[in-house]
Amino acid sequence: MSEAAVKPRTPDEVGVPDAKQYMHPAMLENYGNWDYHDRPRVGVLRHVSKSGQVLFTVRAGTQRQMDVFTIRKLADIGDECADGHIRFTTRSNIEYMVTDEAKVAPLIEKLEAEGFPVGGTGASISMISHTQGWLHCDIPGTDASGVVKGMMDMLHKEFVREHMPNRLRITTSCCQINCGGQGDIAINVQYTKPPKINHDLVANVCERPAVVARCPVAAIRPAMVNGKPSLEVDEKKCVCCGACYPPCPPMQINGEDSTKIAIWVGGKHSNARSKPTFHKLAVANLPNNAPHWPEVKEVVGRIVAAYKADAKHWERMGEWIERIGWNRFFEMTELAFTKHHLDTWTGARKSMNMSAHVHF
């Protein structure tokens, strides 16, 4: 091999690229000069600039994990039916921008014919924000893209219309680190058993002091097991969070008996009306029956239906529950309220009702 061939290329550390080179020309021309917007129909935004420029955006759902054929198909649609410029939303929907209103209907027709549902705007259920799961993560309790596909099949009808009280944002996380984030409904792995330790491997694989330090409840301590340096877990203290598993894979947290699904409600990112909130526990210990998650789907369906039937226009999930009270939330969704719904973590006291306000 010649010397030139083995010499590594010096990278060009360009950092964050300039989006303006890829942006739709009407966006560039009217950058910072938009006046208002409305939604002529579900999946379509109409923005009008102060100069009078009108820009239509058509939003469609994607599978996020895309093969090159799908990417090229989306690109072809962008050339044939739109203006050659696209963007993605935070929730992996694709958006096509066009200035000519006449292009909107054929674009929608083409997207739907190719299997990309048009919607996700306004008071709809948008794409589920999710993680990597079994496809790529090193510590997952369940899959992500697969269970999301099944869930979105069920929720598709609420993606393609704006019939919810307000937008409803769903997230999933395949472990308790919660990479999927906060949501109106969050569907997250919840472990129910302490880690199962392979003591033969700990000393070789794990940096033990770092693992001890990682435990949020100081339940892990160094120990000699079968003559080998290892770690042991105080199972009375352990909260089964799985935080020790990433730095120490021999502390297996996953398993049929341990990897369960919990559903949380009332998380909200936006500051509109109420301040942002974290989601709260609705139900735990649902089975991880991937890919279809029938038990999870059934509960999500009930929560969505109760919210849809009872919330006022513009109320988000958490705001609706705050108005009707948790008593009625558990009643309407036919879920149990247990001692496990009482927070025990730092700051738990602030979540208690320290008033005479009671819902009957």
């Binding site: 966006m27 093969d67 697969g146 099949d153 009306r273």
Partner: protein, 435 residues
């Protein structure tokens, strides 16, 4: 997804056996686009290399569904000149599925606001078809484009190809991470600052902290043009930049009347007046609207509902909130308001923001414990010590309410009060006697 008329799961003569995928096969019907159908197409119609990788990837994924276990492990893979940005994945079941035994992800920073041309998408697809598996995620929760499925050997050449078309690695590990911006000024009338400029300015200035990881733990920036926070900055970013304004909401009274005429008076009262969190809005008898701007908290709700009648004021800038993060290990945290307002219009304003960001990352590097996020550092040392270290004055906008505990030493209260009055006088443009 309708996907042509090829038949799945038919082993082809002369090729390796196609793994059966009974669990994944169930994820192909239904109205939502199927990533399984896409990966199968790579297996059946992709390049010879893509076909081999994806057959074994599907085999491993179905094996995960069968046993309800993940089979990837991390490791160390990098490209020349960088200490992070690649997520290494080595299969634990490579004996069964050898072609996808190395399935690394390249995290690549997208343009702020996730803008692409169709040609750029095709270039990326071509590169990943040649050097990777043919599977790309737009985008991960980190905000990166995830080019998934690369062997250790191909990682360098794949990165070089992406780098040559103007793209760079994002963050991973204890480092500055890839940032995210909303669509902002490119399309949204509610945007209160140039998100893209702030995003590029800060990240590109601090790029060394991304590419050579040496921080105590991860540090994330996110940029939302208004309080609707479309990139979830308050929950997800150590440093959240949220657009806001100081002067009055702009009201077009004729459009208010049109809105009331179209939607109804009761509906307007129920959805706008009654939902204002600080009771700052009233609808007048002539269907015009009064807003008590001193009480308004810039939450965006009324502007969201009445997009034509109401809009943010002209004196725009940003609020900065520090300390948001996900669960590990103390539980989820939201950012705390530490800069209620920074003007962000001129070159000097942007430089000031970049300097503040740099100081914040320096503070984090110097003071956080290993594996501690800056929000946890603030909790550990207390907000007053954090503000002292950063040279920031305490402000009522940082709290829901003042302290309720009397356990604090207050013998320098008068000096602190004097500083407050001096600051207020300075803000009012008065001469301070000592200056």
């Amino acid at each position: 997804m309708k996907d042509g008329d090829h038949k799945d799961d038919q082993p082809e003569t002369g090729k390796g056996e196609t793994h059966p995928t009974p669990h994944l096969d169930q994820l192909e019907d239904g109205p939502w686009p199927s990533f399984v159908t896409g990966i199968k197409r790579l297996r059946d119609e992709g390049t010879p290399s893509n076909q081999k990788i994806m057959n074994d990837l599907l085999g491993q994924l179905d094996h995960s569904y069968e046993n309800k276990m993940g089979y990837w492990k991390g490791g160390t893979v990098s490209v020349f000149g960088y200490g992070g940005g690649i997520i290494p994945r080595f299969s634990e079941v490579a004996d069964k599925f050898p072609e996808s035994k190395e399935f690394h992800t390249l995290r690549i920073m997208p343009p702020p606001g996730f803008h692409y041309t169709t040609d750029l998408l095709r270039d990326m697809a071509d590169i990943w078809e040649e050097h990777g598996s043919g599977l790309i995620a737009f985008h991960g929760q980190s905000g990166d484009i995830m080019f998934q499925g690369c062997t250790t050997e191909k990682t360098q050449v794949a990165f070089d190809a992406l780098n040559k078309i103007g793209f760079d690695l994002g963050g991973a590990g204890p480092a500055l991470r890839t940032a995210m911006s909303c669509v902002g000024q490119a399309r949204c009338e509610q945007s209160c600052f140039d998100e893209q400029r702030a995003h590029r300015g800060i990240i590109n200035k601090l790029l060394d902290e991304m590419h050579r990881p040496s921080l105590p733990y991860k540090f994330k920036f996110k940029f939302s043009g208004c309080a609707n926070d479309c990139v979830n900055a308050i929950h997800r970013a150590d440093f959240a930049v949220i657009g806001t304004w100081r002067d009055d909401i702009k009201i077009n009274q004729e459009k208010v009347k049109e809105h009331v005429a179209e939607k109804g008076r009761k509906y307007t009262i129920d959805t706008v007046v009654s939902m204002c969190p600080t009771r700052a809005i009233s609808l007048n008898d002539d269907d015009t609207m009064d807003i008590d701007n001193k009480s308004c908290v810039r939450c965006m709700h009324c502007i969201n509902v009445m997009t034509k009648a109401l809009s943010p004021g002209d004196d725009k800038g940003v609020s900065i909130m520090i300390g948001g993060k996900r669960s590990l290990k103390v539980g989820d945290l939201m950012g705390i308001m530490v800069k209620p307002f920074m003007k962000l219009e001129t070159d000097e304003d942007f430089e000031a923001l970049e300097e503040f960001a740099e100081e914040m990352v320096e503070f984090f590097a110097d003071n956080a414990l290993e594996h501690e996020r800056v929000g946890e550092t603030i909790d550990r040392i207390g907000l007053p010590a954090f503000l002292d270290a950063m040279g920031i004055d305490a402000d009522p906008n940082m709290v829901n309410h003042p302290r309720t505990s009397s356990y604090v030493r207050t013998d320098d209260f008068d000096e602190e009060a004097e500083k407050w009055f001096e600051r207020k006088a300075r803000e009012a443009g008065l001469q301070i006697s000592a200056e």
